[in-house]
């Protein structure tokens, strides 16, 4: 190749690089995060657990943010300051046990705190549901969500996959089981505000994941298993159920509808739902 111009000296590069790290990463990162908080951020929280999850998220954000800024500022400074120049030598210093111990124990202490906080919230998310919680079943399938209410008798009827008929009997309810006679099957989930709800998650075919962003709820629906979660919705409104586990070509259209309403509104809706075995669901 033709003779290239001599490379810039180390000090200049060091200054440029240090400035880039500080400007783009430290300043840019912080500014962008602050801007993002108004544009692309957590949806307003609408469940009881969600508040605790958010608190933990923000705590983690602050801690990691401080480390992010601090380490990058240090890196930027060293790069800016210690470019080679003249004939001086680097400092003879390559081991310091106290320093090593410090930056073992300090991160450890921070992480232990975060783990403890996380453990508390996790155990609350997975604690036993309150006794007054209602139960419904939600089943993921390619590509949608179907919910089942147990009806006035409060018991779910038996279901058999062989009986599944997409139009007439999407859940596969056994007509011979009296407990299933009053089960309600619907594609739109209705919940009562401030009332705990237990959801038994199933899948008809592959793994899906039941994700309601506003509630900070997510649980994989695994075929062959029934997994139960519970939560308390705290704000009325219309919400979306998203699928958060790749489930096939229609993964992106698996949007489910969920409505949180007052007890009265819920009762009115509920009274209008026919038993599943009498009619196909709306």
């Amino acid at each position: 190749m033709a003779a290239a111009p001599p490379p810039p000296d180390a000090r200049t590069t060091g200054r440029q690089f240090g400035a880039l790290i500080f400007g783009m990463i430290v300043v840019g990162g912080v500014v962008l995060t602050l801007v993002a908080r108004n544009l692309w951020w957590l949806p307003p929280v609408a469940s009881a657990h969600g508040l605790e999850v958010d608190r933990l998220f923000y705590t983690t954000l602050v801690v990691t943010g401080i480390v992010f800024v601090g380490v990058h500022a240090l890196l930027a400074f060293f790069v800016w300051r210690y470019g080679a120049r003249g004939g001086e030598r680097a400092a003879y210093w390559h081991e310091d046990r106290t320093l090593e111990l410090t930056y073992t124990l300090v991160p450890a202490a921070i992480l232990v705190s975060l783990v403890s906080m996380g453990a508390v919230v996790w155990s609350r998310v997975h604690s036993a549901p309150p006794p007054n919680a209602e139960v419904i079943e939600v089943r993921g399938e390619q590509f949608g969500w179907v919910a089942r209410y147990p009806g006035p008798d409060g018991v779910f009827g038996r279901i058999y996959p062989e009986l599944i008929n997409t139009i007439k009997n999407p859940m596969g309810l056994d007509p011979a089981d009296p407990a299933g006679a009053d089960d309600i099957v619907t594609r739109e989930v209705h919940l009562v505000v401030n009332k705990p709800i237990r959801i038994r998650l199933r899948s008809k075919d592959v793994i899906h994941s039941f994700f309601i962003p506003a509630f900070r709820v997510k649980q994989d629906a695994v075929p062959g298993m029934t997994v139960e979660i519970w939560f308390i919705p705290t704000k009325e409104g219309d919400y979306e159920i998203a699928c958060a586990e790749l489930c096939g070509v229609g993964h992106y259209i698996m949007r489910g509808k969920l409505k949180v309403e007052t007890q009265a509104a819920f009762d009115a809706w509920y009274a209008q739902q026919p038993p599943a075995l009498a009619q196909p669901p709306k």
Binding site: P5, T13, A90, D220
Partner: protein, 598 residues
């Protein structure tokens, strides 16, 4: 150790095929791995551009791309199943066929014998065999694009039942089978390689090269090889069982009562979570397989170009070993919301956050290495320092994901995608670039162009932050992974501008890599001739010619008298002392070392 006259000539009598194609010389094999990985990186990168085309500009039409991929586009728009194939293959290729092969296969092979003072690996024939499983695996993998149903649609993670049942997705037909076979072949290649590396490092270190005098690059390759040896067989077992479930009707993973595509599936009794446990038992150590070699490489380059010993050598070794050991205990953090028992999740939370500690130690040691250093900003050094930044950013977002309650929200969103692109696609990639710029002169006897290297660095560093930092916000807003379009979800409607920006940054990032490709290829033929030790480095590979001769070190193997980081030693005549320099000059009668002759 003397090489006989006969043996030197024997090498010259090998045919071109035996010398360069079916070579048993570790240097050639290392270069073969590296070059093949670069080609696969182009393929994987192209697939990434397709992903960003769709995510950044959903609904747009691309007639030109439609011409290139006739089966995957319809009316100029990418089809949803092809989109998932692209996502699956992008991940598979980048993780297994680029990063693992280039870092362990490429640099491991090239550097291990040179840096420990050996003439070649312990088993050169096995080494050749290991490489030659790689191209056939590539062909089988890429063939999946061309069979009925296309390449797999189940992601690089291939969760069951989506990957087990051909009725569940078009790509779950023959394409998935080919994918599994290709992966199995590559796993065998990795196992052969690990066997070789471990044996070589145990057996063939030269006189004076104790374990604690090995360069950190070698420690990294050594620990990585042990990790691969113990973790990959688990994925191999899972692949075999999935092939049986797919082709022979067994039910290791497929449960009963599934109705797919209107049909009742006859499998019964399997458990999909078993696949996940087996997969992630490999999958998590795998990410450390990807990051440990770059950590070693970066430590090496930081010390060399900062003219300062790496800070805390012993703690660096200890933390690498700790990371490797702990990596076997954290796999469940990929499965917090999988249906696994919550107490198990809590246990994994504890181990996951513990593994952050040795990583923190290493990071601070790298930063401390720069303090009062005398930094030479070669392209390799720029990428090495860039690695530290990327590893910090990516590692910190891992703390969010390591906590199960926070992970409830962030699991399977773009926050995860941003996290692993920072640690893998960015940090590990920077290790690859840094290593290439640093050892190119040794491999090919020529220098890469420094100016182009710097330009490549600036554009890539900025481009990577521009592409992947905003991705975190898409995840915080709740954007799920692997979705073809966000159009259906109200909570994702504000992300259009963000995704478009990320795509544009990604295109720029992709284009910037062409500078590297050009620099690499042209320097092979027209680069300035390299001397033996252009970086004035201490390790053994720099004490022989560039490129090294067959047998690496000429007539006698080097003897090592010191550790690899004697940079800027006070009172030394130069600012570096190679490992081969004795602690005191040997006394020669009448010479400088003879006290009687003064």
């Amino acid at each position: 150790m003397t090489i006989t006259h006969h043996e030197v000539h024997a090498d010259h009598q090998l045919s071109f095929v035996r010398r360069y194609i079916f070579s048993q010389d570790h240097k050639i094999i290392g270069i073969q791995y590296l070059m093949t990985s670069f080609v696969m990186a182009l393929v994987g990168g192209l697939l990434a551009m397709l992903i960003r085309l769709q995510v950044g500009f959903p609904g747009a039409r691309w007639p030109l791309a439609g011409l290139l991929f006739p089966g995957g586009f319809s009316g100029g728009a990418i089809k949803p199943d092809f989109y998932l194939s692209v996502v699956t293959m992008h991940g598979t290729i980048m993780i297994f066929f680029v990063l693992t092969t280039s870092l362990s296969g490429g640099f491991g092979n090239f550097l291990i014998p040179l840096q420990i003072g050996a003439r070649d690996m312990a088993f050169p024939f096995l080494n050749m065999l290991s490489y030659w499983l790689y191209p056939p695996a590539i062909l089988i993998l890429l063939a999946s694009f061309f069979v009925a149903g296309g390449a797999p649609n189940s992601g690089w993670t291939a969760y069951v039942p989506l990957s087990a049942l051909k009725e569940a997705a078009p790509g779950s037909g023959l394409g998935q089978t080919l994918w599994l076979i290709a992966l199995a072949m590559l796993i065998v290649a990795f196992l052969f390689g690990s066997l070789n590396y471990i044996t070589t490092i145990f057996q063939m270190r030269t006189r004076g090269m104790s374990m604690m005098r090995m360069p950190l690059t070698i420690w990294a390759m050594f620990v990585t090889a042990i990790l691969m040896l113990l973790a990959f067989p688990v994925l191999f077992a899972a692949v075999i069982m999935l092939l049986f479930d797919r082709l022979a009707g067994t039910s290791f993973f497929v449960p009963s009562g599934l109705v797919v595509g209107g049909q009742l599936i006859s499998h019964s009794g399997g458990n999909p979570l078993l696949w996940q446990h087996l997969f992630w038992f490999l999958g998590h150590p795998e990410v450390y397989v990807l990051i440990l070699p770059p950590m070693g490489i970066v430590s090496e380059i930081l010390a060399t170009q900062a003219r300062k010993p790496i800070f805390g050598y012993r703690y660096m070794v200890g933390s690498m070993v700790a990371i490797a050991g702990l990596s076997f205990l954290v796999w469940g953090h990929h499965m917090y919301v999988s249906g696994m028992h919550p107490l198990v999740g809590a246990a994994f939370m504890a181990t996951t956050l513990v593994i952050a500690i040795p990583s923190a130690i290493k990071t601070f040691n790298w930063v401390a290495t720069l303090w009062r250093a005398r930094i030479r900003f070669s392209p390799a050094m720029l990428f090495a320092i860039g690695f530290v930044s990327l590893f910090v950013t990516g590692g910190l977002t891992g703390i969010f994901l390591g906590s199960p309650p926070v992970d409830i929200y962030l699991h399977d969103t773009y926050f995860v995608v941003a996290h692993f692109h920072f640690v893998m696609a960015s940090a590990a990639l920077f290790g690859l670039f840094a290593g290439t710029y640093h050892w190119f002169p040794k491999m090919f006897g020529r220098m890469m162009d420094e100016r182009l290297g710097r330009i490549h660095f600036w554009l890539t560093f900025v481009g990577i932050y521009a592409t992947f930092f905003p991705m975190h916000f898409a995840g915080v807003a709740g954007m799920m992974r692997r979705i073809y379009s966000t159009s259906l979800y109200a909570h994702l409607q504000g992300l259009g501008v963000l995704n478009m920006f990320i795509s544009l940054a990604a295109f720029g990032l992709g284009l910037a890599q062409l500078i590297f490709a050009y620099n690499f290829l042209v320097s092979l033929f027209r680069g300035q001739k390299a001397e033996a030790n252009p970086w004035e480095a201490t390790t053994l590979e720099w004490q022989t010619s560039s490129p090294p001769p067959h047998g690496n070190f000429g007539d006698t193997l080097p003897t090592v008298y010191r550790w690899p980081y004697d940079y800027s030693v006070p009172d030394a005549p130069r600012d570096y002392i190679p490992q081969t320099v004795p602690p005191t000059p040997l006394p020669v009668q009448g010479g400088a070392g003879d006290p009687g002759a003064q």
